[in-house]
Every structure is written in C-alpha cells, then in structure tokens.
C-alpha cells in the first residue's frame, strides 16, 4: 500500500469512519462520493459502532504477498449493525470457533509491515465479543 493511500484511508481503517447518506439515511462504508443505495451525494462523516456479526468466512492458507507472516488466518464478511458489509481478518479467535452469525467487534490491529524498514500498516480486524464479568 502506497504511503499516500495509507494516509488517505487512515481514519476508515483505524476506526471504521464511514458516512450516513443525508438523503436515504443509510450508513455507508467505506466513505465515497455517491451513496450506493440511492445514488445521491454521500453524506457527513459518521463513525460506525464496530459491532456486527459474521456473514460468511473462510480460512486462508495460501495468502497474498505481504501477509505470509500471519498465515493461516480467517477472513470474514462482517455485517455491521448499521448495515454495511465489510471484509476483514478475524483475530483473537481459533478458526474452529468461527460460525456464521457469531457476534464480533472491531479492534485496530497491525495488518502488515512493509519489511523491517518500511511502514507499519494498521487497520480494522474483528474479534469475538470480549467476555465481561456480569
């Protein structure tokens, strides 16, 4: 990922910063110029809650260049509570535990490093909801 791309997308990657369409009021992620639901101009910045559920998933053993260090890992389509569907790695989970419908929450993690001298790219992943004492 080029330095410029990394810089431009940092807020959406770090904190799921999307938009809400001012016309049809649906959540949009990632942010864009035109609403994908009603084709009107997209709306003001809106940070999504980061909560959602696994819509589908797969575990990757053959991985793209740059991600070898992390293999194997599980990638999921996550249906966010606000509506958008995002693709992301799951983390802090054993792949045998993953199920469609599993509740997950967003965490900001290291996506990859561009070698030992390049930049470190951070972004959103999802993990099972942290168990909290009652």
């Amino acid at each position: 990922m080029a330095i410029a791309t990394t810089w431009r997308t940092k807020r959406q990657r770090y904190s799921l910063e999307g938009e809400v369409c001012p016309t049809c009021h649906q959540a949009i992620f990632p942010p864009r110029d035109v609403c994908p639901h009603c084709s009107e101009p997209a709306g003001p910045v809106h940070t999504l809650s980061g909560r959602g559920e696994v819509y589908s998933f797969t575990t990757m053993y053959n991985v793209p260049r740059g991600f070898e260090e992390h293999r194997p890992y599980t990638v999921a389509l996550v249906k966010l509570d606000e509506g958008p569907l995002v693709t992301a790695q799951l983390t802090d989970v054993n792949e045998q535990e993953v199920q469609i419908g599993m509740r997950v929450e967003m965490v900001t993690r290291k996506l990859r490093e561009e070698g030992s001298e390049g930049q470190i790219i951070y972004g959103y992943k999802f993990r099972p909801l942290l168990q909290q004492s009652a």
Binding site: Q89, K110, L130
Partner: protein, 350 residues
C-alpha cells in the same frame, strides 16, 4: 519537591489492555533448564502477531474514553510511555490520537524512561491540566517487552498496560492529591540503539536500583502527606517480579491485604511501562468511594514517580462502562515456547 498544580487534577477515565496469550514460566524453564529453574511468575502475557504498543494503546485508550465519556477532540495531549514503540522515529502518539479521533488539535509524543515512562506522561499531564493549558490529557504506559532467550528476564518480560485521561478534579473518579519524583543516574537496565534485547546489571537492579528509588519515593510521599502506611486502602508499586514489590511494600510497613488487588505480576508478568499502572486499573475496578491509594512506579536508569490518590463517588458509575482488567486476565490462551518464539519474531524466516 514538585509543586502542586494551580488547579486540582484527577483521573476522569481509565482503561487497561492485556493481550490474550500466556506463556507459563514452567515452559521457559523446560526449554532452558530442563525444568530445574523455578519461574518467578506463574505465567506472562504475550502479544499476538498483529499487536504492538500502538494497537494495545488504542484499545486501552478506547476503554478510558468509554469510562470518561468525553469528546476525544477535547484531549490536548496524547502521550505514550513505552520502551517498545513500534518505530524508532515516528511517534506512537499520532497513531493513537488518530485512531481515537483526537487529532489534529492535540500534542502527541512518546516518552521513554524504561518502566517509568507511563507515569512520567501522567506527571506531565498533571502539569498540562493543572495549569489550565488543557482540559484533558491522555497518558498511557504500554509495553511489549522483549526478553533475551535464555536470560533471567525472559520469565517475566510481559505485555500490557493502561491508559488514563487526566482532567479537572471535580469531574474525576480519582483525585490526584499529590505527586512527586525521585530520580538518580543509576545504570541497572538499558538497551543501546540498534540492540534488540536490553541488558541488565543482575543484582544491582535490586538495590540501589529498584529499592533505592521505590522506597524513598514512597517514604517522601507519606512524610509530605503526614500519612502512615495504614492510612492507605490500596498500595501498588512497579512489579518486575513478585519478590521485589512484596519486599518493598513490606519494608514500608504495608500489609498483604493492601497490595492484593494491584499485584498482577504472577498472572501477566512484568508489563514494564504498564506494570504499576495496570495494577492501578485493577484496584480501580474494585475500589470504593473515599478509599486512598498509593501508586509508586519504577523505571531503570533510574527513578520512581509516587502518587497519592483518593477515590470519588463517580468511580462506581464508570467501573463497568468498559472491560475490567480481570476480564483481560481471564481471557487467557496458554501457548508453548515454539508458538511464543513465532509470535515474538524469534524465528529467522528469511
């Protein structure tokens, strides 16, 4: 001795983070001594492949924000103390500030003072808030400590830490009644630029290092405040192992029931810049209004920061607004030494 801030300052939100992997001390002993050596801790916390001081700080900061319930754009400094910043040059502070939505009208920088870097950030934050330059400051102590394979410190070099949002005392869950520092040039533990692992001066790191700073800092605080050990409900000091803090607190006149809630090192190891302050978060999870807490950090090189703290009525409202420290401690996945070697980058793959 430090003067007091013009305006009274307190902690308005706090948050902990501890990664989920645990390496038992018995596993390290199995590798390096065929089980003959006895580990100074039960186990230590180990970060995952996708975790570092920046990501762990972000989660602790989000927990602190959830408790403080303030607008992150009102934070005027994001200061992160660590000896394991992901970059040698480029601040962790800007990454964390961006992730929590505190940019652009904020100071952002990294502090370095071995295991005291987090409380150093808190001291500076007291000055910033107490002078009126800032309404809120985010001070974090967080580490992913590296232990040289086979070294005595490999048993304890853990990962974790805590974030504190400092703000006006009248909004605080804990009022900072007084703080002070006690510092000298003492070379007991260090890492030169370009070196991967720190070195240490064996027994020298105990006395005059650890005990030579923790004990006088605590004594000076009690003298200044006209307090006796029995006046505190909780005490928490830096925890490089179990033996050092227990010996120091006993020598100062404290009893086990005063240090029980904050002594986390048997479960998570030494979290370096996070060590004393993650213990403080565990205390705050169970503390009651009116209780008094003594916090003393220690950083090699060397120095201690001491804080006299008083819990307010507001604490009860915020304790459960975010995951508690023991929620993270209980979230444990035990790993073997081979997995540890992989997670901590100790395998040459290229």
């Amino acid at each position: 001795m430090l003067n007091q801030p013009v305006k009274p300052v307190g902690i308005v939100g706090y948050g902990a983070y501890i990664p989920r992997y645990r390496l038992p001390g018995a596993e390290i002993s199995r590798i390096w001594s065929h089980g003959a050596e006895r580990s100074p801790v039960k186990e230590k916390a180990v970060p995952g492949l996708d975790e570092d001081t920046a990501t762990m700080s972000v989660e602790a900061a989000r927990n602190a924000l959830a408790r403080a319930q303030i607008d992150p754009r009102e934070i005027r400094a994001v200061w992160i103390g660590s000896e394991s910043h992901p970059y040698a040059v480029k601040p962790t502070g800007t990454i964390v500030a961006e992730a929590i939505g505190a940019t652009p009208a904020t100071q952002a920088a990294d502090w370095q003072f071995a295991c005291k870097a987090g409380t150093e950030a808190m001291q500076a934050g007291i000055g910033f808030v107490g002078s009126g330059m800032a309404r809120y400051v985010l001070a974090i102590g967080m580490d992913t400590a590296q232990g040289r394979p086979g070294d005595a410190l490999e048993y304890t070099a853990g990962a974790g830490g805590a974030a504190f949002i400092l703000g006006p005392a009248d909004e605080a869950v804990v009022v900072i009644q007084r703080s002070l520092s006690y510092v000298s040039d003492t070379t007991d533990f260090w890492r030169r630029p370009g070196s991967h692992y720190p070195r240490h001066a064996e027994r020298f790191s105990g006395d005059p290092g650890y005990f030579g700073h923790v004990i006088p800092a605590a004594e000076q605080m009690m003298e200044l405040m006209g307090a006796q050990p029995g006046d505190y409900d909780h005490v928490v000091v830096h925890q490089p192992n179990v033996k050092f803090p227990v010996r120091a607190m006993r020598a100062l006149g404290f009893r086990p029931e005063q240090w029980q809630a904050g002594l986390l090192v048997p479960e998570i190891g030494n979290t370096y810049a996070g060590s004393a302050i993650v213990g403080l978060t565990a205390i705050l999870d169970v503390a009651q209004p009116g209780q008094r807490i003594l916090l003393v950090s220690y950083g090699s090189g060397a120095g201690s920061d001491a804080f006299d703290l008083r819990v307010t009525e507001r604490l009860l409202d915020v304790q459960r607004r975010a995951p508690q420290t023991w929620d993270y401690i209980r979230r444990r996945v035990v790993i073997d030494y081979a997995t540890y070697a992989r997670l901590r980058g100790k395998l040459a793959t290229t």
